[in-house]
């Protein structure tokens, strides 16, 4: 019952006019970002992060950190819905998590001539998935946070290790590449002053008398900021990747207007598939809570499950509504769930929540269990805003599809440089530092190249955000244990989490060995 009282307080915060206004701005921007194929939800949140700093410090009357997080989370919710529109109407995924909608969304819109039904079914499933996940978030977040308060350095370190292990072990196309990116993120986070001994680390040009190099050195002592790096990796990196694809892409267009008839038809489709949508939402929530994943992997999992348990498997890929509703419910539930470990444990559940968490650090908040006790208004305001944000997004999507689709007509020669300008100004305005601008440009190129070479960027960003905390808990554990590594296993919880991390890390290795043995067996049979 206490939860409902706290949630009511959260609604009182989230329903303040300034918060509703920024929720509307966030959701609308998210929808626009979601529709634009060159820009993802993570980039959108990263680019807007500097503006959130201004909002969080109270420069706008009535606004505070809750307003700032509502804006950033609103972008995420909008982008979760917005990517659908381009996938279904243009056969181009607006977001990585809407790639899966190309399989059945576009065929339903084009071949079966039902774009309105395809869009409405997708929005409805997203809404239901997000709603179920938010209810679970409301019910269990405080419980998790209360238990997490008992965590000491060994337990916290074990949780960080588990989150890194899931990034490397589960879902990564190449665990070695993911490991390299993870270590790169941790290494970048180590640049600057060591917080325990105060000594300098990994500072290039040390001792140089050349003025510009000395300036770089002095700026680097404060460390590499994750905001400029993230804006570069995701904002500029995605723009460059999409610039390369401009000459290659072929765009099919279907126009759509949504009517009340479409909504009724989608509601009928939902009634027939309620078990699929509810079960996929629950699975999406559980999957999203695992650190390091989020909506994209969940959407494919959701599609696989929908197809696996369908009686009409042959209809998938030809415009089957279950192939739209299943993955959409899973993706949105996972998107909401990715905020759970961020708020309760201080471990981001997805790249986007890693960027939102970076925002919390910049605003002076410490993500983790203490948020619930020290910043209760903030946390419950955020949770209430998730309900409101998804409701608002759903309504906006139903009303504004033709308008949103028209964004695709903004010329490339205007939208692309504009995104670059906003990225660079956003990165500069955080610390008024030209070095941050340089980081954004350099990491834009790095991000583009790594993406091209199929190196995953999520481990890099998550490790960069968590790097300081990981090292701090590692060294605090060692100091507490007087240098004895056995202290990492001093409690049952830390031991269990460490074992879990080892299993998660070893699983793909076992899978790879089994696959190789199977292939070797097939080859031997062929030879026989």
């Amino acid at each position: 019952m206490e939860v409902f009282g706290l949630l009511a307080g959260g609604f009182a915060t989230a329903l303040q006019p300034i918060n509703i206004a920024f929720l509307f701005v966030g959701v609308t921007l998210g929808l626009v970002i979601g529709v634009l194929p060159g820009l993802g939800g993570t980039s959108g949140v990263a680019i807007l992060l500097p503006i959130s700093v201004v909002i969080a410090r109270g420069d706008i009357a009535g606004a505070d950190t809750t307003t700032a997080v509502i804006l950033l989370a609103g972008i995420y919710w909008g982008a979760l819905f917005g990517g659908v529109i381009t996938s279904i109407l243009f056969n181009i995924p607006g977001e990585p998590w809407s790639v899966v909608l190309l399989f059945d969304g576009f065929p339903l819109a084009k071949r079966k001539g039902k774009p309105g039904l395809a869009l409405t079914s997708s929005f409805l499933a997203s809404f239901v998935g997000a709603f179920i996940a938010t209810v679970l978030f409301t019910l269990f977040a405080k419980e998790i946070a209360d238990r997490a308060l008992a965590f000491g350095p060994p337990e916290l370190f074990a949780v960080f290790v588990l989150s890194f292990a899931t990034l490397v072990g589960l879902g990564a196309e190449s665990p070695l590449k993911a490991l390299a990116m993870l270590a790169m993120g941790l290494l970048l986070a180590a640049i600057g002053f060591d917080t325990i001994t105060g000594s300098q680390r990994l500072i290039p040009f040390a001792g140089s008398e050349f003025e510009p190099l000395r300036n770089i050195q002095i700026n680097l002592l404060a460390g590499v900021g994750f905001v400029p790096v993230t804006i570069g990796l995701f904002g500029i990196g995605e723009i460059l990747a999409s610039a390369e694809e401009q000459g290659i892409g072929y765009m099919e267009k279907i126009s759509a207007k949504l009517g009340f008839k479409d909504l009724l038809e989608a509601l009928g489709a939902l009634r027939k598939r309620w078990f699929l949508v509810v079960s996929n939402s629950l699975i999406g929530f559980l999957f999203g809570v695992l650190p390091g994943h989020g909506a994209t992997a969940a959407s494919f999992l959701g599609y696989g499950l929908a197809r696996q348990y369908a009686k009409n498997k042959e209809d998938f890929g030809k415009g089957e509504i279950s192939g739209i509703m299943g993955p959409q419910a899973t993706a949105d539930a996972a998107g909401v769930a990715s905020l759970v470990p961020m708020v309760t444990l201080g471990v981001p559940g997805s790249p986007t929540s890693a960027v939102i968490m970076a925002g919390l650090f910049v605003w002076g908040l410490q993500p983790g269990p203490l948020l619930f006790t020290e910043h209760s208004t903030f946390v419950w305001g955020l949770i209430a805003s998730i309900y409101l944000g998804h409701f608002l997004t759903f309504i906006l999507c139903l009303l504004a599809v033709p308008l949103l689709a028209s964004i695709m007509r903004v010329p490339y020669a205007i939208i692309t440089p504009f995104i670059v300008v906003i990225s660079i100004i956003g990165s500069y305005s955080l610390n008024n530092s030209m070095l941050d601008v340089a980081f954004t440009v350099i990491f834009g190129l790095v991000g583009y190249w790594l993406r091209k070479m199929k190196y995953p960027l999520a481990p890099l960003v998550v490790a960069l955000v968590l790097g300081d905390s990981t090292e701090r808990e590692l060294r605090k554990t060692l100091i507490a244990g007087a240098g004895n590594p056995a202290f990492f296993f001093s409690s049952t919880l830390s031991t269990v989490v460490m074992i879990l991390a080892a299993i998660v890390l070893i699983l793909p290795l076992v899978g790879a060995v089994r696959g190789r043995l199977r292939r070797a067996g097939v080859a031997a049979d062929d030879t026989d």
């Binding site: 610039a243 490339y412 030209m434 440009v441």
Partner: protein
């Protein structure tokens, strides 16, 4: 392969920089591993992973397609990268507003091939919108050009 080699090289440099990890005098408290231990071993893991990636690239058959799909795709990326570099470099002399106006105008003219009034509109409206949003709305001062205060931006 080249990317993995570059990552391994960065790891080697970081390990060399953190060689104090092997020093017998380390942290400030009993049990502390010191400032260099963590970056040294993080770099070691990064280097080993990169070597593993390079080894797999050597051993496993790789697709024969080049890094870029076509010459057009290289040109498309360079069209964006080179002006972006110049734009970022020019801030210290031209300030944000002049640099942004020129950058937007260049894209409208070079890639968009718009009529001159659209080019001017793009070059003026964007910096003006940024001024209103950042300096007036959010009270964030952005760098002005070397001509300031002779001209107001």
């Amino acid at each position: 392969m080249g990317t993995a080699a570059a990552i391994a090289l960065i790891a080697a440099v970081a390990m060399f920089d953190s060689r104090a990890a092997w020093s017998p005098v380390r942290g400030t408290a009993p049990g502390d591993v010191g400032a260099s231990w963590y970056p040294f071993w993080t770099a070691a893991v990064m280097g080993l992973a990169a070597v593993g990636v390079a080894y797999r690239a050597l051993v496993l058959p790789q697709p024969k397609a080049g890094v870029f799909a076509s010459r057009a795709s290289v040109v498309a990326v360079l069209n964006l990268v080179l002006p972006m570099f110049l734009y970022a470099l020019s801030f210290q002399w031209l300030g944000f507003y002049l640099a942004t106006g020129l950058y937007m105008g260049f894209f409208a003219a070079y890639l968009g091939r718009y009529r001159f009034y659209w080019i001017i509109a793009s070059a003026v409206i964007t910096p003006l919108a940024i001024f209103l949003l950042f300096e007036v709305g959010f009270r964030l001062l952005l760098p002005k050009s070397i001509f300031y205060p002779g001209i107001p931006f």
